[in-house]
Amino acid sequence: MKLVIGWLYPQLMSTYGDRGNIITLQKRCWWRGIDAQVLSLDVGFKESEIEKCDLLFMGGAQDTQQKIVSEDLKNKSKVLLKLISAGLPGLYICGAYQFLGNYYKEADETKIQGLGILDLYTENPGLKHPRLIGNIIFDPKIQGEFGMQKIIGFENHGGRTYLGKNVKPFGFVIKGFGNNGEDETEGAIYKNTFGSYLHGPILPKNPEFADYLIKASLERKYNKKIKLKKIDGEMEQKARKTVAKGLNIDL
């Protein structure tokens, strides 16, 4: 089996170790004999390239980088909308998650238009309000082949995201802030697209979620049920316990 993982803007949108998500997806495929290739989609990429992808990933970035990317994305909104609406699986972290929404309002009230693909918006309440920073645990609203444990990561964002009616939260916060620190939601799900604030990066310590994305991509591509081989997760379990213990949560 083959899987093409499209990495959107690897040069620009990879500030918080997010390339760990790509490494995790690719290695978990390789370890199972699935030929996973990573296709870099940098500024100026062609529509034909993104259409080859079976799974998309995009990470967060600094403001300058985000501005350059948002210029480039303006021309890509149609194809992205088409692919995401057709159920192409994807994971979008932090800045990328915010991009998919309707708009981002900066601390100085400047409104930056989003791609409008996910029914959500983000506002930065200003410098007087602290950034939402720290370890986080949330309860995801999906089921994986090997069950689905609580999701663990690290969040660091100034923007507060609010979900509209046409998206579901990825999950509900047990400890931490999540989308906005108010309504206990974290992330968003629309068809097979996942948005989340979790760094860490999210996939290495939450292998069931990584496998969920791989399975969804393969099943969609080959149009049949796929059974993934189990991979030992002892190290992951111990790393998860360390974070949970620090937050006084029993896993």
Binding site: P10, Q11, S14, T15, Y16, G17, D18, R19, G20, I23, T24, K27, Q62, D63, T64, Q65, K67, I68, I133, G134, N135, F154, N156, H199, G200, P201, P204, K205, M235, E236, K238, A239, T242
Partner: protein
């Protein structure tokens, strides 16, 4: 008033040391600043010491130590803030501890290292004679924010400095070199062959002047190299220095620290021989390629606190046989350990015996599992890990330890039985 604060601080510091309470390097200054917010300003104004201020993500302590070594070797009197105590309270503490019985600072030189957020605050307190800026890399994003934000804050703070302050800048870091445009600045940098392309974890790949992509012709590490903007005329500035008379510490990142120290010393009027004497007699700072002898075996500690510093440590210790990596996530380390995924373990980690420890040892374990290092030994207790690693190190071999900041302090304590003050 300040005299009382100085006496109070000195007594407090003695008590803290006596009772082994720790933080003796910041409390006296913390209290002095609380009782007199102008404590730093007033004391520095009354001192004739020339002031050298050092900032940057990596290399502050080594560069400050190098300058200090050159000054001391040539008969000058110098005082510094303690490494790690690089906020305003650390500067105030160093003033408390180094003032004489009359409450005066009678040293020839003061060297202060400050962290990224503290630099603008420090420049409001006093005007340094030299401002040495080393580099900006992603580091503790949870605490410092993104490097574009920091460089903007620095630019604003520097713009109000008088001409009498000499900027000493890294010509090979695009963000740092740009701070010297429109000012008379001194530049240090390398003039040698480097790699042809920048690694994926590089931070400053866009022109600070016009935001277009930068083209790099020689890359020394991360985004440090010879660059030229693809659109405007911004490029690596003319170097004032590219070679030092002696290199007391290894690694290409240390070449920059050494060049910065030599450039400041040259500008202060020291001769090549005087500078060389200072470099030859230089002893590395705590945990920065520091060597400790334990049970007849040599231990070398390389503080490794962000992707660039860990990459460069790994590059420098290529011939190592036994390696202990320690990852903590306390406040001085940064609570977010995501950065380990930006480290190029895949290409830099050789066939060492690898032992892992620290608060987040298992996160590092996962990272190495994904870099296909399966024979990694994870030992949660740091003292057990150090003991095990020493046993694994053969006679005449060196045990290399790469810890984050708080882990480095712990490792030293385990090896020497003492805390750093």
């Amino acid at each position: 008033m300040n005299l009382i604060l100085i006496y109070l601080g000195k007594i407090l510091s003695k008590l803290i040391n006596l009772l082994s309470l720790g933080s003796g390097a910041t409390w006296p200054g913390h209290i002095a600043l609380n009782l007199n917010p102008n404590f730093i300003k007033e004391n520095i104004r009354n001192s004739k010491a020339k002031i050298i201020l050092v900032a940057g993500t990596n290399g502050k302590t080594t560069t400050s130590s190098l300058i200090q070594s050159i000054l001391l070797e040539n008969g000058k009197t110098v005082f510094r803030n303690t490494s790690g105590a690089n906020l305003l309270n650390g500067i105030a503490s160093s003033i408390v501890l180094n003032s004489n019985v009359l409450g005066k600072l009678d040293h020839d030189y003061a060297i202060f290292e400050v962290d990224e957020n503290t630099l603008p605050l420090t420049l409001k307190e006093f005007t340094p004679d030299y401002l040495v800026l080393l580099n900006l890399f992603r580091d503790q994003l949870d605490r410092y924010g993104e490097i574009n934000t920091i460089s903007l804050k620095w630019k604003n703070a520097i713009s109000s400095l008088p001409k009498s302050t000499k900027l000493v800048l890294n010509a090979n870091d695009p963000q740092i070199a740009f701070l010297g445009v429109e000012r008379n600045s001194l530049y240090f940098g390398l003039n040698e062959k480097g790699a042809k392309s920048i690694p994926s974890s590089a931070d400053s790949v866009f022109c600070p002047n016009c935001n277009s992509a930068l083209n790099f012709s020689d890359v020394y590490f991360s985004h440090i190299g010879k660059f030229k903007c693809s659109k405007c005329s911004y490029k690596t500035p003319q170097l004032n220095i590219s070679e030092a008379p002696y290199y007391p510490v290894t690694g290409s990142y240390n070449k920059f620290n050494i060049l910065a120290a030599v450039l400041v010393s040259q500008d202060l009027g020291f001769s090549e021989q005087e500078i060389k004497n200072g470099l030859v007699n230089f002893k590395p700072a705590f945990g920065r390629q520091e060597e400790i002898l334990k049970n007849g075996k040599k231990v070398k500690i390389f503080l490794s606190k962000n992707p660039t510093s860990l990459n460069e440590s790994l590059r420098t210790i290529r011939n190592a046989k036994t390696l202990l990596l320690v990852l903590n996530d306390r406040i001085p380390d940064g609570r977010d350990v995501s950065w380990i995924w930006d480290v190029d373990f895949e290409n830099l980690l050789k066939s060492y015996k690898v032992i892992i420890s620290g608060d987040r040892a298992y996160d590092l374990g996962i990272r190495l599992k994904y870099a296909d290092f399966n024979k990694v030994r994870v030992i949660e207790s740091l003292s057990n890990a150090v003991r095990f690693a020493l046993r694994e190190t053969k006679e005449k071999e060196t045990l290399h330890i790469l810890p984050t900041y708080s882990a480095m302090l712990e490792v030293r304590k385990i090896l020497t039985g003492r805390k750093i003050q």
